[in-house]
Amino acid sequence: MATTTTKRFAATHRVAGKGRLAGSAALGFTFDGQTYAGVQGDTLASALLANGVHLVGRSFKYHRPRGFLSAGPEEPNALVGIHRDAARKTPNVRATVQELYDGLTAVSQNRWPSLAYDVGAVNNIGSPMFSAGFYYKTFMWPKDAWAKIYEPRIREAAGLGVAPERPDPDTYAQRFAHCDVLIVGAGPSGLAAALAAAESGQRVILCDEQPDVGGALRYESGASIEGQDGWTWAQAAAASLLARDNVRVLTRTTAFGYYAQNMVGLVERVTEHLAHPDLTTPRERLWQVRAKKVILAAGAIERHMVFADNDRPGIMLVSAARTYLNHYGVAVGRNVGVFTANDSAYPAAIDLKKAGVNIAAIVDIRDNPSSALVEEARSLGIEINAGRTVTGTDGRLRVSSMTVQAKSGGPARKVPIDALLMSSGWTPSVHLFSQSRGKVAFDEPTLRFLPGIYAQDCISVGACNGADSLDATVDEGFAAGEKAVRATISAKPKVDKGETWGGGMLGASPGSGPEQIVKAFVDFQNDVTAKDIRQAVREGMRSIEHVKRFTTNGMATDQGKTSNLHGLAIAAEVLDKPIPAVGLTTFRAPYTPVTFGSIVNHAKGELFDPTRRTPMHGWEEQQGAVFEDVGQWKRAWYYPRKGEDMHAAVNRECKTVRTSAGIFDASTLGKIEIVGPDAAKFMELLYTNPWAKLEAGRCRYGIMLREDGFIYDDGVVGRLSDHRFHVTTTTGGAPRVMHHMEDYLQTEFPHLDVWLTSITEQWAVIAVQGPKSRDILQSLVDNIDISDAAMPHMSVREGTICGGVPTRLFRMSFTGERGFEVNVPADYGRAVWEAIWEEGKKHDVCAYGTEAMHVLRAEKGYIIVGQDTDGTVTPGDAGLDWAIGKKKSDFVGIRGLTRPDLVAPGRRQLVGLRTKDPKTVLEEGAQIVDDPKQPIPMKMIGFVTSSYWSENCGRSIAMGLVEGGFGRMGETLHVPMPDGVIEVEVCKPLFFDEKGERLNG
């Protein structure tokens, strides 16, 4: 990397006494491996120009050599890659925006093998083939070639920069902010608005995409405000704003999107300009600002002239050359030509001339330009060619001459130049206004689209609103600031002297009209010429939206900031319609490209999504548990001991539960406390089961349906008292079951006196399951009689455990063994778990995970909603008819259950499946057929929903949904698999302890 100390100040094109960077630190940087010198305050563009470098890129389609068009964010050409390190390689950075830092490494793009000699430039010679719409026409035949040949080749050749391959190591931040007034743009009108609004004490945010405030005052040498030159006044104004508590000034911050209800998206580039950014400081910060009022002071963007070969390096906007001279102290050439359709070119020529740069000629398409500026230029001895046009340029890697001709034709003259400045006028930046859904209106006399009908509480001021002088912009800005805060402020900044702008033309210049076959570029970034637009119209495109898509005009990353109006005017001319009748394409966010990093901001790595862990997670980790993701939860899947694979661990865990006992972390189960005098009535309505007669202290397995009669969720519900139920739901179903209940309570049953509270995370749940479960808990519970007589299967007690820890103790089972579920307040979960573990060790217990839990419940045929049901399964289909209260007249889903399709024969019903070979374990999801010899495609009559090896049964077990399954007991069905057909026998879904004696101990 280059360093500052060894660099000499190479000022080949710096002009002594010009610009504002005198005395700034010298910086070294490289471009395509070549080392250059710049100074603090430069952009990459100004630093390259200071070194006489204009050639910086190759165009997208024709690979034509390109230089800098602008000095700002509208830049279409000068896109480079900035490489900080192996991971941080940013493509398509506008060199006109990138601030220089010491050691900056930039590379050109879209060229091979080198920028000066690019093989792809052959496209330029074969260019008739690449005319408008060529993608749609050229690559249509033969049919197969698109996917195999054309698309891969085009993708390889197209595009500009190369995306980095490594993960982005930078950090990004986000901030929501609210303010009374948001001002976008800190040029003279934005600053005036901020000064007025700030005085009121209300909250003001002022943002600007540039590193400093000032806007056009950066180059307007003719401005004077409050007795100071414009730029100095602007910096002083910003300083006074910064000193206020109620004002936030955000520079290097682009307002990129204007959304509903005055929500404006800003992106602040925090470290992009630093040589050694601290990795903990965010690279960028996304601001989401909700403003009561928005003042848009976005300024205007200068347009180029559309003429033959107007894209050679060295040809740029007038305002760009002026910025490079007046701000950066850089002369863009030594012998400069000017081509213009308005007055703005004259002060540039005057500034350059006064700085010692030769102005070869001003070519003005106006027949009689007359103003003080024109006179001043003339008096400085500058040649003015009025009523003439530029019909072409020469120079391969840099412009070397322009061809000047009368508009009406006649003899042409070649004028040698090394830079050409052009201006066809100014386009008000109505992008954000349009994004706010405001309607623009075409102003015929000035050929501009201006803000028309507002859709949100915002106002446009200054050049983006059509103001044509410094006076007017400051007036508009200040008035808008006052109005926004409903106050009258006395101290309006006084404009002593200011420049004006306005006038100009749209479309192709004389000499580049329809009769000429030339490359007069409209859109530099997408290589769209005037000819392409005309061709689009001739081929039948009538709407500007179609012209845009056919030609790709305005569809590059610069979104046509310099090209849209020219394209529109050319289309209108060919269509012979007024411009507004052809329409204007829609402005969309983002105004300039926004990084994915800033949009993602904090949401990466561990913050990509919350990871939920139970109170016992740490213990489980220490025991070597393998975890599985269940929604956002981490759940212990199995606990392998030394030398065990998953299969061995699960087999052991399953055996241990049925021989002694196992403990299981069930904390993730959804839990809802239902409280109120109508709690039982509510339960009756939400579940299929009867609840009214369930005694306090008893539990019931409940099934919840959707309105259509299909199973929605299930779980064990304990009645704690007449008015209080403790409901459990599936882990994954917890939030939606709560919403489902709340929805019905508020919309269908608002008359019920009952409330719902989620208590999922209040209680840690430790399931203790197995023949020894009661023995283990016996010594731990403080004041609960857990004998079979006092606390039978499906009962619940409140009391304490482990010396005072409150518990809701459930006697219930999801294993078919005698079992308990110990609910304790979450912060005590781990301590109680450890106490149970210690006690359990005396009985050879194990901790078991979700896999063993699944196997154990399948051995008993207990369903898992979402695994054995798929949203089309009724309680009847699942063999759970018994859970429907036969005497009930209403519950959610009761009418759905009587629909003809739901009671028709042949429904898929949940059955057990025994493979003929007990060692064969079916694949979950495998399809089931009746006759395996039928032709393919076979008729599928069902599928496997659950399938495991059961160590307890010594064979594989499975369940599946099979058409008419209940009537097929004992039948042999077939499961075709890639390596053969598996025979299965249909059976009841119950594989262990068929009589259910173990539940009761």
Partner: protein, 183 residues
Amino acid sequence: MVEAITVKRRGALDHRLETINGVSLQPAKPARRVSLRAEPDGLAPLSKALGLDLPTKPKTSALADGRSALWLGPDEWLVIDESEDAEPLKDLAEVTVLHSAVDISHRNVAIIVSGSKAADVINAGCPQDLGLQAFPVGACSRTVLGKIEIVLLRTAPDTFRVECWRSFADYAFSYLSDAARGV
């Protein structure tokens, strides 16, 4: 009765404590919490039992003797009490008027965010207007922080209490740390 519990209590954020860019992130001490639901005509006896006036205006809270009641909805309050011997649930048990009181002491975890940039840190993930006028001391809101739901309470001009469900506390703390690094 105060629980005389001998087994170890473990919070979700034990040992986490950070000060970044002048903003301190600190787990709040254990508190009793009640989710209280009631109709308007029940407010008087419930307020009396709790020893504070249950607030009825959105985004407001009431504070008395270390006990706060946060308005979360027209019929919903979050009661938080950090005193050692407080038992708001027991206080409410005596009230006969229609209501629902559910113990959520362990469901929620709180993080105290304090420092001159505390609001900026929270605003990294929470879209609420945290200006002192819009969100004065005592203001509260059930809102979001990044991808999770939180209840936010301003306890001092530069101090906020961020309440979230226990299993989201790790995310909330990490989010606030990341945000503090980025202010």
